[in-house]
């Protein structure tokens, strides 16, 4: 028993001695509330180590839907917000939770669909007409239903198409209440149509029978904004460190880093910050 106890103690000591990551040792960090689509696109994996190396500040990303990210910031659990729903972002600032909203980058949404294309929308450039066709054909359509930026955009498009009442839709419209990835998995398995942001789609590895059927419509424009959570409202917010991060993201260096992120040679995000 003596030897066993010794081995066990050494194992425990070794286990708890393992540093979880070098970043853990660093002291300063900020908490960034962002969206699942942005994280899953892989952009942060490129951007944040670059920033950490430059400034020694770790940026900790909690990825949720846009709505949840803003709620988290309202509770004071984040220092900075980076999401893509301009209406919600401006409301956030107007309510006094955020200091200022700035554009950072944009990309676009694409309509994905199965190769069988029962609604016959492939190749189209009019998203509203395509949605009407899908509704008419009662083709399976997966919606995120999670108050995300993507979901908000989707609802706005349905409204333009004159089909904004969710009770008026039939069983062909399926709300999964989930992030972009799980919704993509579901759509892929169901061979359903789905509105997704191009970034997540390009980096998604389970594309199955889905492909892009409609793109390029100006109404599919997807703008990302960054906001400093108001330290006046939540005293814990790390004002200097957070502002430093925001300044970097909109700076020439940060914008160039964003532009440099590609998958399969294709650029995912297009920087469009205006000089302050």
């Amino acid at each position: 028993m003596g030897l066993t106890a010794l081995v066990a103690s050494l194992a425990v000591a070794a286990l708890f001695g393992v540093p979880v990551s070098p970043a853990h040792a660093a002291g300063s960090f900020i908490t960034l509330a962002s969206t699942t689509s942005t994280e899953q696109s892989g952009l942060f994996k490129l951007l944040l180590p670059m920033y950490s190396k430059r400034t020694g500040v770790q940026v900790r990303v909690v990825a949720l839907g846009t709505g949840q990210a803003l709620d988290m910031a309202r509770r004071g659990d984040a220092d900075v917000v980076l999401v893509h729903d301009r209406v919600a972002e401006e409301r956030f600032v107007a309510e006094g939770f955020g200091v200022r909203r700035q554009d950072v980058m944009y990309n676009d949404f694409v309509l994905l669909g199965p190769t069988t294309d029962s609604a016959q929308v492939a190749g189209g450039t009019d998203i509203v007409e395509s949605l009407k066709k899908i509704a008419l054909a009662q083709a399976p359509f997966v919606s995120r239903g999670d108050r995300s930026g993507t979901h908000a955009a989707e609802l706005r498009l349905w409204k333009v198409a004159g089909l904004d009442s969710s009770t008026g839709r039939g069983t062909w419209y399926r709300e999964t209440g989930s992030g972009m990835g799980p919704a993509l998995n579901t759509a892929s398995a169901m061979n359903a149509y789905l509105l997704a942001d191009r970034g997540t789609w390009l980096s998604f590895k389970n594309q199955g029978q889905l492909r892009i059927v409609v793109e390029g419509d100006a109404r599919l424009f997807n703008q990302y904004g960054v906001i400093l959570v108001d330290p006046g409202r939540h005293v814990h917010v790390k004002r200097e460190l957070s502002q430093q991060f925001i300044d970097w993201v909109v700076s020439a260096e940060g914008q160039a880093a964003i532009a440099s992120y590609r998958i399969g040679g294709e650029q995912l995000f297009f920087p469009n910050a205006r000089p302050p």
Partner: protein
């Protein structure tokens, strides 16, 4: 079947490569779950002993409550801990949200009922055998409790393993209170959830296989220790 085969090969490759990020995730998973089990043992084992050897008002109600809480949905616990630790919540000033400490707290809450209820069950059988003899020798409740706990140690190790299994397998609570932050609060289960979200199913499954292998290894160690103790003490 192709995906599964791919996953298996990927798991082997990942283990062999000793990828630093993977090791960090594995280490954190173990640290969080083991810490939670240790704390849960410190609370749950005495609780189980108290249920067995003492009689106090509301004891039966507490036992029923403890047994029921074994079925606590992890995501609900996650939510509860989140609301407590959020800056907007009562314990917000400690800044514990999105840290491994929050994850340990959430998992401990999940495991304490398991340890309490199952150790109570184990000790009840032992108590039936030992009660009269211990009373005859003059043991008070405290002494009887400690004696029972030590004598039933083999079965209690299994109880703790059940708690450890629950902790290592759980994803809902640690996702909410940890935030699955890359390099800080990402554990095996949340990493698997993330890779699944990204559509990389073979990688997700490969991580799953590694997680299972880890749990198997821990259980095997515990088994060996129990066998050694058995031959020594009967």
């Amino acid at each position: 079947m192709n995906d599964l085969g791919q996953a298996f090969l990927q798991a082997v490759r990942l283990l062999g490569s000793a990828d630093a990020e993977l090791l960090a995730i594995v280490a954190l998973s173990l640290q969080v779950s083991i810490a939670a089990v240790v704390i849960a043992a410190l609370i749950g084992l005495p609780l189980g002993a108290a249920f067995t050897v003492t009689r106090f008002p509301a004891r039966r109600a507490l036992v029923v409550l403890c047994n029921s809480l074994m079925g606590l949905p992890p995501v609900v616990v996650g939510l509860l801990v989140y609301l407590l630790l959020s800056r907007a919540g009562p314990l917000g000033d400690y800044g514990l949200l999105f840290t491994p400490v929050a994850m340990v707290v959430a998992q401990t809450i999940l495991i304490v009922p398991i340890v309490g209820a199952l150790s109570h069950q184990v000790l009840e059988s032992a108590w039936e055998e030992y009660r009269e003899q211990l009373q005859s020798l003059g043991c008070g409740a405290w002494q009887a409790g400690v004696t029972l706990l030590w004598d039933a140690r083999s079965a209690l190790v299994t109880v703790l393993l059940a708690g450890l299994g629950r902790a290592t397998a759980e994803v809902g609570a640690v996702m909410i209170v940890g935030g699955n932050i890359d390099g800080v609060t990402r554990v095996m289960t949340t990493a698997i959830a993330l890779e699944t979200s990204k559509g990389d199913l073979p990688l997700a499954f490969a991580l799953g296989l590694i997680l299972i292998a880890l749990v198997l290894a821990m259980n095997a160690c515990a088994y060996v220790i129990k066998e050694a103790a058995k031959s020594r003490y009967g």
